[in-house]
């Protein structure tokens, strides 16, 4: 077994990053001009990395499968971005953000990376404001904050329910500025289909132009994968339709280890599934748990309407079970609690697989607050309602509108129905402190890597991590590698390795087109999704996982003999693109089950039914499982496990409690 070297700098935790930055090798400006960097993906991590590296003088190429870099799925993040600014004077600090993140991740993240993340968090807000990101502000003109799950301070910055959109448009504008200056070359509607390695180092990619179907070879001294998460392995998730694992999976097959694939985040507040036709699920931001109260009826199988159920007949189960954090417990805990109530027969709505998220109390509270502010001494109930609804509309208006649009119900009048859905994947390509994978020159940033969130990510931390990696980490850490590459001239893409890589990609596409089976790609994707959701979702068991692995292997065979792909190979062909992605998901799904089966404990989003406390909380096994599981691809259905031991030198590892 190889020993994974995370290359964590020596010294005190709080000084590691500062010392690293002052001692890491530099590349002088003249040399930067001849070094080429490929960035795949244009979300928060990709756009911020590409812009920042181009500003430094590197030659950058950016690839995205969408028609514009502005469409990457970071755009859909709603609630906010954390930063340890302590603007609210409520006791926040770098250490507290670090501590909350490690604890929230159920003690399965790497200390040094998380501390660095907390250290740079403040600079992200500064940078975004300087770019013109219109964060929410108070009347005095200063920035506004709100709370998110798993914390007791207000450190979340936001722009209504569209924070991801505003941050991405900020990063996109910085990127487009570099495009305009000729420092970045943009390849839209291009999908990366392989990494090219030469003498063990990443030297480029093979990309397919989706419009013409042409395969292209691109050289880079380094390749950055900023390609997001793999939640769509479940078919239904809050991810965009195009979100996929293909780039990361190709890298995995070229030698990059895949870490903690089973760590999946199931988000507690999503709009429930309405029928078989459903193509994706929609998130209702965690910020709604600031003011909304979650409940189910106290009586089983209660068929009354929500508004007919009296206060004392309601079970506010999160407030009951977790008085200290109440409705703001971390996502994994809130999701499991919802599942527990629904499984026990207390669910609501037609499917009974939903719980209520209720704004009635918040509307009255805000209405009374407004009356007080306006010196109204005896406001009528109608006035309180109207003023309260106006406040809620300002804070959450776009989310309420979205709910109404999808369900046809008005959440200002009746409680929303919500249920957990797949949202984010904490697992991803294994990276060292420098964000480099086990393939030299190949990096993974943002959700595509595994490093900062352990077994459960806290709300508003994905945006923070994506931008931290792109704006403030990779511009420094990439120097450690590129400083030794200054003598490597740009390589011809006519070399044997490039030609062979392109040939392999072409053959795979031709094989897919030539199957000419009977079933569309979606058929296989839905079946995989159901296996994953039932057996590798919110609750996992040895028996279920073992059976799933066999089922997935059988499904892989069926896919490769019976998938039907229409259209042409050399034209825009969305079904061919989807087929390639689903083929990769079928392999990843198998590895996720293998990983979940290997981890004989429960931690964060990974809940093994065999390992729980008496009151149903996740039961960790720190003695045997305080490691990162990094899997090496060793042939079809064969993966070798490598372990990175997690050392907690600055935090006392403990049973997580939000009670």
């Amino acid at each position: 077994m190889t020993k994974l070297d995370a290359k964590i700098p020596e010294g005190n935790l709080a000084e590691k990053w500062t010392k690293f930055r002052s001692s890491v090798s530099l590349v002088n400006p003249a040399n930067k001009r001849s070094l080429e960097i490929i960035v795949v993906g244009s979300g928060l991590a990709g756009a911020s990395a590409a812009a920042s590296l181009a500003e430094l003088g590197y030659k950058v190429k950016v690839f995205c499968f969408q028609d514009s870099p502005r469409r990457a799925h970071s755009i859909a993040a709603q609630g906010g971005i954390n930063a340890a600014k302590n603007y609210q004077n409520d006791g926040d600090s770098v250490y507290r953000l670090f501590y909350d993140t490690i604890k929230g991740g159920d003690y399965r993240a790497r200390e040094a990376n998380v501390h660095r993340l907390a250290e740079v968090s403040g600079s992200i807000i500064d940078q975004c404001v300087a770019q013109g990101v219109p964060f929410a502000r108070e009347y005095g003109g200063l920035l506004s904050n709100r709370s998110f799950g798993g914390t007791q301070v207000q450190r979340t910055f936001y722009a209504a329910g569209q924070t991801g959109q505003q941050l991405l448009l900020g990063a996109y504008s910085a990127l487009q500025r570099q495009v305009g200056m000729g420092n970045v070359k943009l390849y839209t509607r291009h999908e990366m289909l392989d990494v090219v390695t030469i003498d063990g180092k990443a030297r480029g990619i093979i990309a397919r132009d989706s419009v013409t179907g042409a395969l292209e070879r691109h050289f880079g001294h380094a390749v950055l994968l900023c390609t997001g998460g793999y939640g769509n392995v479940f078919y239904l998730s809050t991810n965009a339709m195009g979100s996929n694992v293909t780039a990361a999976w190709k890298a995995h097959k070229k030698g990059a280890f895949f870490a903690n694939p089973c760590y999946t985040q199931i988000h507690p507040t999503c709009i429930p599934v309405s029928g078989d036709h459903q193509s994706k699920l929609t998130l209702m931001s965690e910020s709604l748990r600031n003011d909304g109260r979650i409940w189910v009826p106290k009586k089983q199988n209660d068929t009354r309407k929500a508004n007919e159920i009296a206060e004392d007949e309601r079970d506010y189960y999160l407030e009951r079970r977790y008085p200290a954090f109440g409705n703001l417990v971390p996502r994994d805990i809130a999701s499991r609690a919802a599942k527990e109530r629904c499984d026990a027969g207390y669910g609501v709505g037609a499917s009974k697989m939903a719980v209520y998220l209720d704004y009635a109390a918040a509307i009255i509270r805000y209405g009374k607050g407004e009356a007080n502010k306006n010196n109204m001494h005896n406001p009528s109930d109608d006035e309180i309602q109207a003023m309260g609804k106006a406040v809620v509309k300002e804070k959450y208006g776009n989310l309420f509108d979205m709910y109404k649009q999808i369900t046809g119900e008005d959440p200002y009048e009746v409680p929303m129905r919500i249920y957990p859905a797949v949202h984010y994947t904490m697992g991803g390509l294994w990276v060292d402190y420098n964000l480099m994978t086990t393939v030299p020159g190949l990096y993974a940033l943002g959700e595509a890597n595994f490093s900062d969130h352990g077994a459960n990510r806290l709300g508003a931390s994905a945006l923070m991590q994506g931008l931290a990696d792109g704006y403030f980490v990779i511009p420094y850490t990439i120097g450690a590698y590129l400083a030794s590459e200054i003598r490597t001239p740009a390589m011809s893409t006519d070399s044997e390795d490039f030609v062979a890589a392109e040939k392999a990609v072409r053959e795979r596409l031709e094989t897919l087109m030539n199957i000419k089976g009977n079933k569309p790609v979606d058929y296989f994707h839905k079946r995989l999704g159901k296996i994953m959701w039932d057996e590798c979702g919110m609750a996992r068991s040895e028996e279920g996982l073992k059976a799933s692995i066999k089922e997935i292997q059988a499904l892989q065979k069926e896919f490769w003999s019976d998938v039907k792909i229409p259209g042409e190979i050399d034209n825009l062909n969305p079904e061919l693109e989807k087929a390639g992605r689903v083929a990769d998901f079928l392999e990843l799904g198998e590895l996720m089950c293998i990983d979940a089966l290997d981890r004989n404990e429960s931690c964060g989003g990974h809940f093994r039914t065999e390992y729980q406390t008496e009151d149903g909380e996740a039961l960790r096994d720190d003695e045997n499982y305080a490691y990162v599981a990094a899997w090496e691809f060793a042939g079809p259905s064969k993966f070798n496990l490598h372990k990175e031991e997690l050392k907690y030198e600055n935090i006392k590892i403990a049973q997580r409690s939000y009670k």
């Binding site: 300087a130 502000r137 005095g140 839209t188 994706k280 034209n571 969305p574």
Partner: protein
């Protein structure tokens, strides 16, 4: 509440940019009113695949109204009959049983058709690259709260910044003008103190790029505002004009 619809669809089919397109007619039945419009197209496409035909190509990604990728012109209106929603958020409960629905791509010379309902909107990216940014390299920023911004200005900037770049404004405009899109970015940055330093240069460069891309002029019809899924206001165009003219008059 759930019901089922039988519909006739007239959809624009075009193999690629170099071939002429035409409408094809399809029948779909048993469509749940809880489906989104794109899920209805998914149903049609899976049937076309089963029957050995090429499915309808269309742009879509987030399916929650924020990425701006979906772009269908439905019954003569960008994103269909409802105000303030994108095609992906349009649900079948907005249609009647037995209805005929016509679906076309965005029509504008600056948005050439790639295939079926898919168009090329990279002209929008080039307009942003011309000046839709504040020139601040990573690492140059001061503490965020050193620059208080009046809440009203911040809110107004946010309202302009909410543009999703879908291009419905262009598709709705009889002149295929990109004024609403361009003005939303110019407005957002002009309203903020950070954006003032290069406001003149920005307005001139973005307007010049807009013209170069072949977008038409604005004749104040207001169709763009009416059809914008994010409610971007016409006031932005007025503000852009002010910025542009003051930049032109004061330019050396």
């Amino acid at each position: 509440m759930e019901g089922h619809l039988n519909l006739t669809l007239k959809i624009w089919r075009q193999k690629n940019a170099n071939t002429a397109g035409k409408f094809e007619t399809y029948q779909v039945s048993g469509i749940s009113t809880d489906m989104s419009f794109l899920e209805m197209i998914d149903v049609l496409n899976n049937r076309l695949i089963q029957e050995g035909d090429d499915p309808v190509a269309f742009d879509h990604d987030c399916r929650e109204g924020i990425c701006g990728m979906c772009s269908m012109y439905i019954n003569g209106r960008p994103h269909g009959p409802n105000r303030g929603v994108t095609t992906c958020q349009l649900h079948m409960r907005s249609f009647q049983d037995g209805e005929t629905i016509t679906v076309e791509p965005w029509r504008a010379s600056a948005f050439p058709v790639i295939k079926d309902l898919v168009v090329n909107r990279s002209s929008f990216d080039r307009i942003i690259a011309a000046g839709g940014f504040i020139s601040v390299n990573t690492g140059n920023a001061q503490d965020a709260n050193n620059l208080p911004i009046a809440k009203d200005d911040a809110d107004e900037a946010f309202a302009a910044a909410a543009c999703i770049g879908c291009g419905a404004c262009v598709a709705a405009c009889k002149n295929a003008s990109a004024m609403l899109f361009t003005s939303a970015k110019i407005s957002q940055l002009a309203l903020l103190p950070q954006g003032k330093a290069e406001a003149s240069k920005r307005a001139q460069a973005m307007v010049a790029q807009m013209d170069e891309e072949g977008f038409g002029a604005c004749s104040n019809t207001g169709a763009c505002e009416a059809e914008c899924p994010k409610g971007i206001s016409l006031e932005n165009i007025a503000r852009m004009n002010r910025e542009y003219f003051s930049a032109t008059f004061s330019s050396k």
